[in-house]
């Protein structure tokens, strides 16, 4: 059975490594600040926790901020964790891409860029995925329709 790691426990470890990165945490989730995201993700992958499998990458539009959600699982150790980050500012939200760490993020980040408008820096091929080039706007945003 996949054990959901305690968010608070992992948050303590991360705060020791990268001070000031954790914004909040609860039983299954940790929220990190968006500029430290890549470092924290790399730590989660390469450290003892071995989060080698990115299950899901998605984004939510809370009107004040965008939230990018990463669900991670370790196939080796059979535990899971949810990582979130918040992007403030609706004009050009952007965050580092985790494609160099987990290749499964490639198409999912393209989809988030397409439908929500969040740019991922460092993505090898950031183009629209489901809609065509030149489509006006980003449909999944709350202010689209």
């Amino acid at each position: 059975m996949t054990v959901a790691l305690s968010g608070k426990g992992v948050a303590e470890e991360i705060s020791k490594r990268f001070p000031g990165s954790v914004v909040s945490s609860d039983e299954m989730t940790i929220v990190v600040s968006c500029d430290k995201l890549f470092a924290v993700a790399e730590f989660l992958k390469t450290s003892d926790l071995t989060m080698d499998y990115l299950v899901n990458l998605t984004s939510v539009d809370y009107v004040d901020y965008f939230e990018v959600v990463y669900h991670l699982v370790s196939i080796k150790r059979n535990h899971s964790l949810t990582l979130k980050t918040r992007l403030y500012g609706r004009e050009k939200p952007s965050v580092a891409s985790v494609t160099p760490l987990w290749r499964g993020a490639e198409l999912q980040e393209r989809e988030v860029y397409d439908l929500m408008g969040i740019t991922f820096e460092g993505h090898p091929n950031l183009k629209r995925l489901l809609l065509w080039e030149g489509y006006p706007g980003h449909p999944l945003r709350r202010d689209y329709l």
């Binding site: 299950v55 899901n56 998605t58 290749r103 993020a105 490639e106």
Partner: protein, 370 residues
């Protein structure tokens, strides 16, 4: 691209949205050097219907028919995954009989989906529909059983939050029992025709190999992942529903080539038959749906619920703000993520192999495009 004497130029072909074997409206822009594939770029979006946006304006029960149309060849699994996510979010209990019915119907769906996937894979090898027709004979029996159960053959809309929507009629149980008794001999029939066929072996062994590290790194799931030798199945490793009461094996491949994916699916069919047999013996009497209000208002929060659908890990991410419709509804499309490595799998192979490798990934465009 220069060879020693001739100067040849690669040419671009568009295996366009309309093609007999792209499993739906899927487009690949392929660069060939003669017959050898040099570059593949998949393009999809031709079936994008905006299901995630549509779900934001519908109540939780009204979304169930929308989930049917995601992976329309395994609609019960979609229903089940979504309904489980809502139950996790709103903490709704599910009665025992409903759990058993879900398992039986889910495993029947797995058999039906694998029959179709395998049949079309062999069809793309060129066997001119014969194995497909044989497999479709069994699939027709399954679809008739579903018809008897909920009135539908393709988009079932059978699961509800807190249970299932109908109790099966009394003549359903002996029909399922009869099906389960004769299915293993049919699977033996298919295997006799295909598994040791020299042409099938020479066209699928070693073709389109996905290495273990790339499979995990690229978030592959389902039989696609297990064929590469990774022992990860959500039914056992992240048990949901009552799968821990049944004994079944998880078939694992060795090389990660097309042949292993085919064998994984065939063996999974046998294991599904085993699960249904065990479930049929243990089904209790009782109610098939718990008492859930018509308009469900889950508490504020988010949840990620996933199941082992026939094509991979199908997940649903729901964010609720205590209203009757979800704030955000996201589908983790297993087949789209499986397609991440299409270029690595097919580079260096020929046009014929491209089609076969793509067929072995087993995509359904409804799930990719949503």
């Amino acid at each position: 691209m220069e060879t020693t004497q001739l100067r040849t130029e690669p040419f671009v072909i568009n295996l366009g949205p309309h093609h007999p074997s792209t499993h739906g409206v899927f487009r690949m822009r392929v660069v060939f050097d003669g017959e050898v594939v040099v570059d593949v770029e998949p393009m999809f979006g031709y079936l994008h219907r905006g299901i995630e946006k549509l779900a934001e304006g519908r109540t939780y029960t009204q979304i169930i028919p929308l989930t049917d149309r995601l992976d329309y060849l395994a609609a019960m699994s979609n229903n089940w995954g979504y309904v489980m996510a809502v139950e996790k979010l709103a903490s709704v209990p599910v009665p025992e009989r409903a759990e058993y019915l879900r398992i039986i119907v889910g495993e029947m769906m797995r058999i039906s989906s694998h029959l179709l996937a395998t049949g079309f894979l062999i069809n793309e090898l060129g066997a001119f529909f014969t194995p497909l027709m044989y497999m479709y004979r069994e699939r027709e029996k399954l679809l008739d059983l579903f018809d008897m159960l909920c009135g539908q053959r393709l988009t079932y809309n059978y699961m509800r939050v807190g249970g299932v929507s109908h109790d099966p009629p009394p003549e359903w149980w002996p029909a399922v029992k009869r099906f389960v008794q004769e299915m293993p001999s049919y699977i033996d029939d298919y295997e006799n025709l295909i598994t040791t066929n020299e042409i099938v072996l020479s066209r699928t062994k070693g073709v389109g190999v996905l290495s273990r590290e790339l499979a995990i790194n690229a978030s592959a799931s389902g039989p696609f992942l297990r064929a590469s030798g990774i022992d990860w199945d959500l039914r056992r490793d992240d048990t949901y529903s009552i799968y821990n009461r049944f004994k079944f094996d998880i078939p694992i491949g060795t090389n990660g080539d097309v042949y292993d994916r085919y064998m994984c699916r065939v063996k999974e069919m046998r294991q599904s038959v085993r699960i249904i047999e065990q479930a049929l013996q243990q089904v209790p009497k009782g109610e098939f749906r718990s008492n859930v209000p018509h308009l469900i208002r889950p508490p504020v929060g988010d949840v990620y619920g996933h199941i082992e659908a026939p094509r991979g890990e199908l997940g649903f991410y729901l964010v609720s703000d205590n209203s009757i419709a979800p704030y955000r509804f996201h589908v983790r499309p297993s087949t789209m993520i499986n397609l991440t490595t299409l270029r690595d799998l097919t580079i260096g192979w020929k046009l014929a192999d491209l089609i076969v490798i793509f067929g072995s990934v087993d995509v359904v465009l409804g799930e990719i495009d949503r």
